[in-house]
Amino acid sequence: MRIDARHLLDRLGKNDFAYKEFEDRFTELELWPILEALLRDPRLQAIDQVETAAPEPVVSETVETHAPEPLSALFSRYGRGPAAPTDVAAERRGAQAQDVRAMLRHLSDLGSRGEI
């Protein structure tokens, strides 16, 4: 670390810079095509269809702790997404008939809270 940065941090009483104040206008962005392509890949559903091993590790404080959302819910946001993988997944998906912009809105919320 440069000495001037060290002095600035000392004056601020901090150990490091955090970039939590960076905000994105997610609602004005389109989903990156690679993310869209990945969301359409049925193999990603594998991670959504297994239960978390117990005992579950504690999530460190630096990570967002929102309730996990089934990946199938992300698929559901595409009107022409793949067929529902299982009845169980369909139940978990519930009534959330959203499109990809719902995911962007969620990301925008996270951004506005400085969590991403």
Binding site: Y19, L35, L44, A46, P57, V58, V59, S60, P68, L110
Partner: protein, 250 residues
């Protein structure tokens, strides 16, 4: 003895960095830690501030040949990936038996994904190190498609070298977070102090005690502890992660 497997999807993710600092965190918490590298080309000693010319002793080398860094036993077994008897060997050496506060961290290169899959079922915990980058994300379907449900269920994830000033990095991290949910146990911010410490031949904790990456990787180490505990018995009896004891002399 708890066995923790550190692995990843793609080379350069920082698996060895995370494995080394996971070992340091658990050692500071009071555990007796061994780090086993199975890589043919090994950078593990650099994260402990050791000389690049150092060759780690074999897993089977006698105690007098041991390399200890901050009290952590560094070992190598380059033939482990081809050794069909590797797991029985660990068992014979006592590494899979219950024992107080003993941990082996196995550093598995991303290219040895088949080996990682083979030993994860025998581990107490495993940590997959990811970068929030599109080429890493692109490998996720292939890896998840190949892995068993049991392996996926036992896998925790950490994002390494996250540059939160970059839009694509933040979006990629958000995607990973959405995908793996609570299995994501932490993220480590991109920090120039990490390569600088290697260049200075110093452990990161000595070179840059206030390093953001150091604080993050320590938090990940602390988050791994519950996976190592057994019901009715705290895993770490001698230390406290919130107030780590001083490292043992190298």
């Amino acid at each position: 003895m708890a066995v923790i497997v550190c692995h990843g999807l793609k080379g350069g993710a920082g698996i060895t960095f995370v494995a080394a600092h996971l070992a340091m965190t658990l050692s500071e918490a009071g555990a007796e830690v061994t780090v086993l590298s199975v890589a043919q080309r090994d950078t593990l000693p650099l994260h402990f501030g050791l000389q690049p010319a150092l060759t780690l002793p074999s897993l089977f080398a006698p105690a007098e040949d041991a390399v200890l860094a901050s009290g952590i036993n560094l070992r190598s077994h380059t033939r482990a990936t081809d050794d069909a008897d590797f797991v029985p060997t660990l068992h014979d050496l006592g590494y899979l038996e219950a024992g107080p506060d003993r941990v082996m961290v196995i550093d598995v290169p991303a290219s040895e994904f088949a080996f990682a899959r083979r030993i994860i079922p025998h581990s107490s915990a495993n940590l997959c190190v990811l970068n929030a980058a599109p080429d890493t994300l692109a490998l996720l379907p292939q890896v998840l498609g190949d892995a068993s449900a049991e392996t996926i269920a036992r896998t925790t994830f950490a994002i390494n070298a996250l540059d939160e000033t970059r839009r694509l990095s933040r979006h990629s991290a958000a995607f990973i977070r959405e995908l793996v949910g609570p299995r994501l146990i932490g993220r480590i911010r991109l920090d120039e102090a990490v390569p600088e410490a290697i260049a200075m031949l110093q452990p990161l904790a000595r070179y840059a005690p206030s390093s953001a990456a150091l604080a993050d990787v320590r938090a990940i180490g602390a988050a791994m502890v519950p996976a190592l505990e057994t019901p009715g018995r705290p895993w770490v009896a001698r230390g406290d992660l919130a107030a780590p004891s001083s490292s043992r002399a190298a």
